[in-house]
Symmetry: C2
Amino acid sequence: MDSLSNRQMQILQAIILNYLETAEPVGSRTISRRSPLGLSSATIRNEMADLEELGFIVQPHTSAGRIPSSKGYRLYVDSLLQSGRIPTEDETRVVSAMLRSKTRQLDALLREIGELLSVITRYPTVVTMPNMNRTKLKHLQLIPVDEHSAVLMIVTDGNVVRNHMISMDHALSQDEADMLSSVLNRNLQGLAMEEINLPVIQKLRRELGAEQQIVSSLLDAIQSTVEYANDTEMYTAGTTNILDFPEFSDVQSARAVMEVFHKKDEMLSTIRSTHPTHVAQNLRITIGKENELTAMQDCSVITTTYTVGGETRGTVSVIGPVRMDYGKVISTLGSMMTDLQRALTHDETQEERNQHEGREEKEGDG
Amino acid sequence: MDSLSNRQMQILQAIILNYLETAEPVGSRTISRRSPLGLSSATIRNEMADLEELGFIVQPHTSAGRIPSSKGYRLYVDSLLQSGRIPTEDETRVVSAMLRSKTRQLDALLREIGELLSVITRYPTVVTMPNMNRTKLKHLQLIPVDEHSAVLMIVTDGNVVRNHMISMDHALSQDEADMLSSVLNRNLQGLAMEEINLPVIQKLRRELGAEQQIVSSLLDAIQSTVEYANDTEMYTAGTTNILDFPEFSDVQSARAVMEVFHKKDEMLSTIRSTHPTHVAQNLRITIGKENELTAMQDCSVITTTYTVGGETRGTVSVIGPVRMDYGKVISTLGSMMTDLQRALTHDETQEERNQHEGREEKEGDG
DNA sequence: GTTAGCACTCAACCGTTGAGAGTGCTAACA
DNA sequence: TGTTAGCACTCTCAACGGTTGAGTGCTAAC
């Protein structure tokens, strides 16, 4: 019952493709003329009536053509993924180059990726950093800055650097700072943020006991870093692109969408959607009404994840109108993520190799 | 010729106030009824004709009321500033509290200020950090992170921290890093970014000569920090607020404006406008057509500056439709900046005092 | 100098109308 | 039984034209 005949499938696809182009309801005659099926408009009409009854297309009003429903898009997207005949894009060669030349700081890299992706696809993009909770601490350092302040610097996996300014009542000498730093590193290095719990803090406090004043500020700073870890970092790019599409030509909806883009929590919940969306090939696709936020129900969200340090962590998403070019976005996103992931794991394995075997590098740089 | 009669002034003001409320052209009868002048609509009409000839108001079409021109707003705003009868806002007490409790890191502080300002005024805001070029270096530190990377951390006036990841071919020991750090500090501390020129770099290179490999990466990092210094940091907040106003109810103009908000260079040039705008009480106000970018010619920009370390540096701006509530924005912005400036200079003088006289503090914290 | 009155203008609104696109249904055809 | 041609029907949309109402400019009287 749920499975369509081959012909219905083709008609549905034709409707979707046409609608993706024109953003106008598509009628039976159009399909009859444009598609290679060689059927009359009347036949198409009959099939369309069936497709409508099955919920794959809808009619805005009696005498209009049909437009795909979320269910229709869903079927289309799924078959797109399954058939695997998603073209590979040329533009993404740029990415490889970029990834090679860019700093190895994850945040800068991701920002750039988002930017580029929105330029290529002409859709808004959202990128999230790995959740700090599970990110391992690589290095900590306390640096005295002036008589009343020091910086607690934390470097995590992916070479992401975080700073915390600490105010103090008395000056901290370089030696003291170094001593404290080494205690911090001894106790915390290699731990994930979420592993820094009370016992760990207690142990730290015991070891640091001597330097009372600074210690409490220091522990505060660590504490607030840990708290901050829950607060995922997020970058958006090309948000105004969404205004290009006629479905957002009235200010009300435009405003609603733009607002979501700029509100971190709403955006994150959109991206992390728990709706039973399609997941395949590391792609999560949420289409139209499948979105929880009403403001986003005219949008589709395509999300991929990348991993740093072995565990699934951050996300890269493209957001467009429901009537978006799924094929292109999926392909661009796909190859871009492959590149990104390769770069990330390459770095890691190289690092690990080096850690274990010591010296041994100098690869030709192309 | 250019100076208006008292009555004309009052009429102009009445027109503007009415238009600020309604966003509709205002007719002679409205003024006649609403204003305390006690004049008939006919008289108002005559005066309006004169005001129009002088360019203070315009008529969208023959049988419509009048709306203020940029020149009209200008007169209004100037007299507003001159008369000094700008009310003080209560809401800004929050700021004082915030300023007191917040970290002393300028970037976080400013971000918060922009956010708050956009919530209070319901207009978009833009905040720029002090131009790094003239910002003095307070402290530098090189921190080895792992076998192949180190971080160059730079702290400037206002406790703004910048990091640069450095890749290296061989591991850097803590001792080496400390040695290098102290050379860097000895040579660069107290200098402004723009003062780090070739001779300084040469001198550095000479002193650091021994450690060939790392030195060149290090100098690169410093170089790129200096270059980056030209690139002013900027934060926007509440950009979607602009979509609330009917003057941006068509997507075209909405998109144009939103785009400017998100393009750093365009936004900066808007804020830094060289047009002979009114400057008084540390306020620069650019009204409508006075803006260079066509996309912004339906907007007015109110900019104030704050100083860190004695020199004029960063800006805080509120952007609204030309028909914005100048009085309220000016007052809110004014008192907020007073607070901010007080907090900033307080910190500084306190720091200086401490540097000169050594210990002497312990103020009650509220 | 101010006001009342009047003719005039113009955008906005509204109901009508006709064209066009598209449908569903029926009957004929292969 | 599936496909097609034909036709009546529905609905949107744009254009048209008359009406309304706000507002003006001008003139004449106060």
